[in-house]
């Protein structure tokens, strides 16, 4: 009974994580400029990672593997947003301006270097 | 399924020649080295593919594992990867020196300077 419950829970978590990742992927592809794309990538990245790893953790039960997964999760949660932050900062510094208002509707091609 | 069992080798072939194309056709020295890396990676893929055995697992014995893929190609490729990075590092070192001496990393410009 318990096993089935855990299985179902982890299945749900994994599925949700997968959906999250997909959404993030689509967002990265479809969003109009760098910063919005970054937004999509960064958020879903973290969320997807949390969900997927939690799902796996549930499967692994209480073992060394779970601890390792925890460590991996912590790493991901630390590094991924940090990287996004640094990237955004350096892009801004380099003069890639975020689009606001009207220009959001402009096509990609104008943003090209 | 039988044909799909060769797909890895096809990718090996395509990747090998893609890298080779970069080596011969691109005049930029860094690009050549990138091509070289790709070229060598393709070979790694070929070796690793032939080591795989259906239903096997990595040749690290643990509980429950009985059938193992061949460790030998993996050992060879471990070596080859290190060789590859060594070559790349030396190549990049050379590129830096060439940039210093010639002010360019384009093959045709360098040749042009060599033969005034």
């Amino acid at each position: 009974m318990m096993d089935i419950a855990i299985d179902i829970a982890s299945w749900v978590l994994l599925a949700l994580g997968g959906v999250n990742l997909l959404i993030g992927g689509i967002g990265v592809l479809r969003m109009p400029d760098l910063y919005t794309r970054m937004h999509a990538a960064s958020l879903t990245d973290s969320m997807g990672a949390i969900l997927v790893i939690l799902g796996i953790m549930l499967q692994a039960g209480l073992s060394l593997a779970t601890v390792k997964l925890g460590v991996i999760l912590v790493f991901l949660l630390l590094t991924s947003p940090t990287a996004a932050n640094a990237l955004a900062a350096s892009a801004l510094l380099a003069g890639v301006t975020p689009r606001t208002g009207q220009s959001l509707h402009l096509s990609d091609s104008e943003a090209r270097e | 399924m039988d044909i799909l069992g060769l797909y890895h080798y096809w990718i090996f072939a395509v990747l090998l020649m893609t890298g080779f194309f970069a080596i011969v056709a691109k005049p930029n020295l860094v690009k050549k080295l990138i091509g070289l890396s790709l070229f060598q990676s393709a070979v790694f893929l070929c070796y690793i593919t032939m080591g795989k055995i259906e239903g096997g697992t990595a040749p690290i014995m643990g509980e429950g594992a009985e059938l193992f893929s061949s460790p030998l190609p993996q050992v060879l490729i471990l070596t080859a990867i290190v060789v590859s990075i060594s070559t790349t590092a030396l190549g990049l070192g050379l590129v830096l020196r060439i940039k210093d001496e010639y002010g360019s990393i384009e093959e045709d410009e360098i040749q042009g300077q060599d033969q005034p």
């Binding site: - | 032939m50 060594s86 030396l90 050379l94 590129v95 060439i98």
Partner: protein, 525 residues
């Protein structure tokens, strides 16, 4: 014991069984194949740490001489006798890596270690002048590593192990060449690096495919197991990859384009070393593969070599010599001549007869003597001349007549004049070609014509060295010893005398080459 087809000797040329003779004095004899590699290998890191300038050189030279001594003992041990094998880690052959010194590898070992020793010995001042002192330890370390690589290839009986040591030798050679004084050395090295790596990777692909079909990496084991899968597509493809890859490394025409610049712009001494052995090692592997491993695979084995490589060999001979005739830079001239000489070796091999192989293998030895000597002399010339351009060395014979005399001796050996080592291999080559039938006559023509071309390009150098301007007349001749570093002078003459000595008393190389040829043609020694 001796198989049929071997050129008979009338009892004059016979070596004492080295093992029996040497065993009491050398407890480590069974370890010699390993020590052959280990001596330079372990000395290389040490050299890196030796910072007073001369010390690095001295250590490198000592290691090289020691390796040479080992090679001599090995050669005397295996000549006319069973090969020595060594199981690294004491793991049995197809599983562990096996070292194997037979007559062929022994000959090559002699060439490699001898070239390294003589060039290092003579190269001290020349290199010290060319390199900033802070970098010398790196350079001599790289030198030993190159030596390690070459030697490692020669003793190895494992296809992948050969690849590893090929990379050691290549990377180290790039460093040796990049030490050249001119910036063109860098662009030349880069080209060499790219082509060399492509060649090595092709080889890797080739042995990968063979491994895929046979499941083994040991050359002997491969040769046995490959007969089951003979003429399957992957094996044929592997033969192609291996041949092309090694041809790149061996600078076989038309894949030689990296060679002239690399040789021309390297430090003179390094050129002498590499010219003597670098391409030959690749050719050695090529012959090993094509004759021992793959010959079971291609039933048209003869076609494979003769059909594809013979025209290339002929073209290489003619084009290499032809370009050399018009070359204005002495080092490039000699480099192109190397392309032609590699053609000779390949031509001998492409006859696929014992006599042809015998000639090819002997020529490896003799060409190393001649070309190494010539490049050493160039190094000596360049201690007084501004560069190796022919105009720059005009009249240098008056300044340094004895060094120049050594040039002439080595040049004659290259041409193949009797009394010099080069004559013997040419003799064998012509004999082998004459045995080959109607086509052979044409090949003899090619050989003779290219010999004439060699006369022309060597004589262009002689004429400008003797009769063109620049250097002073007789009065200066006393300063030869002042201009040429004495060690270099000695090294030059060691090689020149070796050219003469092996032109007359060539029993050892001939014996080794003859049994190596038998070995390659599948006759066990």
């Amino acid at each position: 014991m001796r198989s049929k087809g071997r050129i008979s000797h009338d009892g004059k040329i016979r070596f004492a069984r080295g093992e029996a003779l040497l065993a009491p004095h050398l407890p480590h004899l069974p370890h010699l194949p390993m020590l052959q590699v280990l001596v330079p290998l372990l000395m290389a890191p040490f050299v890196l740490l030796l910072h007073p300038r001369g010390l690095a050189w001295a250590a490198a030279t000592a290691a090289s001489l020691m390796a040479f001594a080992i090679a001599v003992v090995l050669a005397l041990t295996v000549v006319g006798d069973a090969p020595l094998t060594y199981q690294v880690g004491r793991w049995p052959a197809p599983y562990g890596i096996e070292l194997r010194v037979d007559d062929f590898s022994a000959l090559l070992l002699l060439v490699i270690t001898g070239a390294s020793s003589v060039t290092l010995l003579g190269g001290w001042q020349s290199l010290a002048r060319a390199l900033p002192s802070a970098r010398q330890p790196y350079y001599f370390s790289a030198w030993l590593l190159a030596l390690t690589g070459f030697v490692g290839i020669a003793v190895s009986a494992d296809a992948f192990n050969i690849f590893v040591f090929m990379e050691v030798s290549s990377l180290a050679s790039y460093v040796l060449i990049a030490g050249g004084p001119d910036r063109r050395a860098l662009s030349a090295v880069f080209k060499y690096l790219i082509m060399g790596t492509v060649g090595a990777t092709f080889y890797l692909v080739g042995i990968g495919l063979v491994y895929m079909m046979t499941g083994t990496l040991n050359l002997a084991d491969m040769a046995v197991r490959i007969s089951d899968v003979a003429d399957t597509r992957p094996v044929l493809l592997a033969a192609g990859f291996i041949t092309v890859g090694l041809a790149l490394k061996a600078a076989i025409f038309p894949l030689h384009i990296w060679l002239p610049n690399a040789y021309a712009y390297a430090p003179h001494i390094a050129t002498a070393f590499l010219a003597a052995c670098a391409t030959k090692v690749a050719l050695y592997v090529l012959l090993r593969f094509d004759f021992v491993v793959l010959q079971h695979s291609a039933s048209e084995h003869a076609v494979q070599f003769a059909g594809y490589l013979m025209p290339l060999a002929v073209l290489g001979i003619l084009v290499g010599s032809g370009v050399a005739i018009f070359e204005r830079d002495l080092k490039r001239l000699l480099a192109f001549s190397s392309v032609a000489q590699i053609g000779y070796m390949l031509l001998g091999a492409s006859l696929v007869t014992i006599a042809g192989l015998n000639a090819a293998i002997l020529h490896m030895f003799n060409h190393a003597l001649a070309k190494g000597g010539l490049f050493l002399v160039v190094a000596a010339f360049c201690t007084v001349a501004a560069s190796s351009q022919l105009e720059q060395i005009g009249g240098i014979a008056r300044k340094m007549p004895w060094t120049f005399a050594a040039f002439v001796v080595c040049g004659l050996s290259l041409i193949g004049v009797p009394g010099t080592a080069g004559f013997l291999s040419k003799w064998y080559l012509v004999t082998a070609a004459l045995d080959y039938g109607a086509l052979g006559i044409a090949l003899v023509g090619v050989i003779l014509v290219s010999s004439l071309m060699a006369v022309v390009y060597i004589w262009r150098v002689v004429e400008s060295a003797c009769f063109a301007g620049e250097f002073g007349d007789d009065a200066d001749s006393d300063s030869e010893t002042a201009a040429v570093p004495p060690l270099l002078f000695i090294a030059v003459w060691i090689v020149a005398l070796a050219n003469l000595y092996f032109g007359l008393a060539s029993a050892l190389p001939i014996e080794l080459a003859a049994s190596a040829a038998n070995l390659l043609m599948g006759n066990a020694p």
